[in-house]
C-alpha cells in the first residue's frame, strides 16, 4: 500500500509556507542570547534549548506526518533516512546525510553541512561549552518519542567549535509499544 523508499522532501518544501531565512536565523539568535542573559549558566541554557526543542518536536511530528504522508518505518535505518532527507528538508530547507551506523543498527549520525541556524554566528570565549543548535537535538528526540521511539540525541561535531560539519548522533534506546490505557476491570 505505501511506497517503500522515502520520498524527497523537495516537493513538500516547495509547497509549504516559507519564512525569510535571515529572520529565522536572527530570531533564533535572539532566543539564545536572551536565554544566556536570563540563565547565565551555559549548561542551563543547553538544557533549556533541549527542552524547548522537545516541546517543538512533539507537535512538529504531526505536521510532518500530515504533510509528508510517510507510513510507519519498518526499521530504524528507514527512520533515520526519512528524518535526514524528508524531515530536515521540509523544515530547515537543508538535507542531512546518514552515516556511522553501528553494528546493531541502533545508532547513527546525521551530518549537516549547511545549517541555517548558525549563519552569522561566532561563539565568544565565555560560551565555549554552549551547544548553540541544541534545539535541534530536542526536536528530533521529541518527534521520535511521539512515534514510540525513545532516543538519546547528542552533538558529536559542531562547526561553531571549529569542526567541519555538524554531526548529530541519534541513538535508539527502545521502542515503546502502545499500551491499553484503561484498567481491565472497568
Amino acid at each position: 500500500m505505501a511506497p517503500a523508499a522515502p520520498k524527497s522532501g523537495d516537493a513538500i518544501f516547495a509547497s509549504v509556507d516559507r519564512v525569510n531565512a535571515e529572520l529565522f536565523t536572527l530570531t533564533y539568535g535572539a532566543i539564545v542570547r536572551q536565554l544566556l542573559t536570563d540563565l547565565e549558566e551555559v549548561e542551563e541554557v543547553n538544557k533549556q534549548l533541549d527542552q524547548m526543542g522537545y516541546n517543538i518536536g512533539v507537535r512538529l511530528v504531526d505536521e510532518f506526518l500530515a504533510k509528508s504522508n510517510v507510513s510507519r518505518c519498518v526499521e530504524f535505518r528507514e527512520t533515520a533516512e526519512v528524518i535526514a532527507k524528508v524531515g530536515f528538508k521540509m523544515f530547515l530547507g537543508v538535507t542531512a546525510s546518514v552515516t556511522n551506523w553501528d553494528t546493531e543498527g541502533t545508532t547513527c549520525s546525521l551530518i549537516l553541512e549547511d545549517n541555517p541556524l548558525v549563519d552569522f554566528v561566532e561563539l565568544p570565549d565565555t560560551c565555549q561549552g554552549l551547544y548553540y543548535c541544541n534545539i535541534l537535538s530536542g526536536v528530533v528526540r521529541g518527534a521520535l518519542e511521539m512515534v514510540s521511539m525513545k532516543t538519546e540525541v547528542t552533538w558529536l561535531r559542531d562547526m561553531l567549535k571549529g569542526d567541519d560539519v555538524f554531526e548529530l548522533q541519534v541513538k535508539l534506546l527502545k521502542q515503546i509499544p502502545e499500551e491499553y490505557p484503561y484498567k481491565d476491570d472497568e
Binding site: D62, R72, V147, Q175, Y180
Partner: protein, 169 residues
C-alpha cells in the same frame, strides 16, 4: 484562509455532494486513549454516558487493530494476540460496515486515531480522514495555547470540521 498552499501533496477535499449531514459522529483519540474531540451531528440513540462511550470506542478499535493484524494471511511475523503493537505497524483495518452505519478509521504513526461514523453507503473515506488530520494539524497542533493530550476546545477547529463533514457525499 488558504492553507496548504494549494499543493497536490495534501489531499484536496472531495467535492461537496448532496446537502444535509450524512455523518453521525466523529471521534479523535490520542495514543493514551484520551478523547481529544467528539462531534455529534446525528445520533438518535445514545445508550452510554460519554465517558463509557469513549472508552468503549477506544477499546473496540484497540482490539480490532490487534485482531486484524494477527489474522493477516500475508504477514510473516505474528506475535501473540494481545501483545501491544506500535501504532501504524502491520496491517490496520480502515473501515467496517453494518446495515445501519459505516465506521471509518485512520491511525497515524504518532498515535492519533480519527474515527468517522457515517451512513452505510458512503464510499471510501480514507482521503477525507487524511484531510481531517490536516485540519487537526493546522488548527490544533500549531496553536501554541493548546497543550498536547488535552481535549480540544477550539470553535474554529470545530467549525472547520463541521463544514467539511457537511460537504461529504
Amino acid at each position: 484562509m488558504q492553507f496548504f498552499g494549494g499543493s497536490e501533496i495534501s489531499p484536496s477535499p472531495p467535492a461537496p455532494a448532496a446537502s444535509g449531514n450524512n455523518a453521525h459522529m466523529l471521534y479523535i483519540f490520542n495514543r493514551n486513549g484520551v478523547c481529544l474531540l467528539y462531534r455529534e451531528w446525528n445520533r438518535p440513540l445514545k445508550t452510554l454516558s460519554s465517558q463509557q462511550d469513549h472508552k468503549l470506542m477506544f477499546g473496540l478499535l484497540f482490539s480490532l487493530k490487534s485482531l486484524t493484524a494477527k489474522m493477516d494471511p500475508t504477514s510473516v511475523e505474528k506475535g501473540n494476540l494481545g501483545v501491544p503493537q506500535l501504532p501504524g505497524q502491520g496491517c490496520s483495518f480502515h473501515s467496517f460496515r453494518t446495515n445501519t452505519y459505516k465506521l471509518s478509521f485512520m491511525e497515524t504513526p504518532s498515535g492519533i486515531k480519527i474515527i468517522l461514523v457515517t451512513h452505510p453507503r458512503t464510499s471510501d473515506l480514507r482521503d477525507s480522514l487524511k484531510y481531517i488530520y490536516n485540519l487537526y494539524v493546522e488548527y490544533v497542533v500549531k496553536n501554541p495555547l493548546y497543550s498536547p493530550g488535552t481535549p480540544i476546545r477550539y470553535e474554529l477547529f470545530n467549525k472547520a470540521v463541521d463544514q467539511y463533514v457537511r460537504g461529504l457525499g
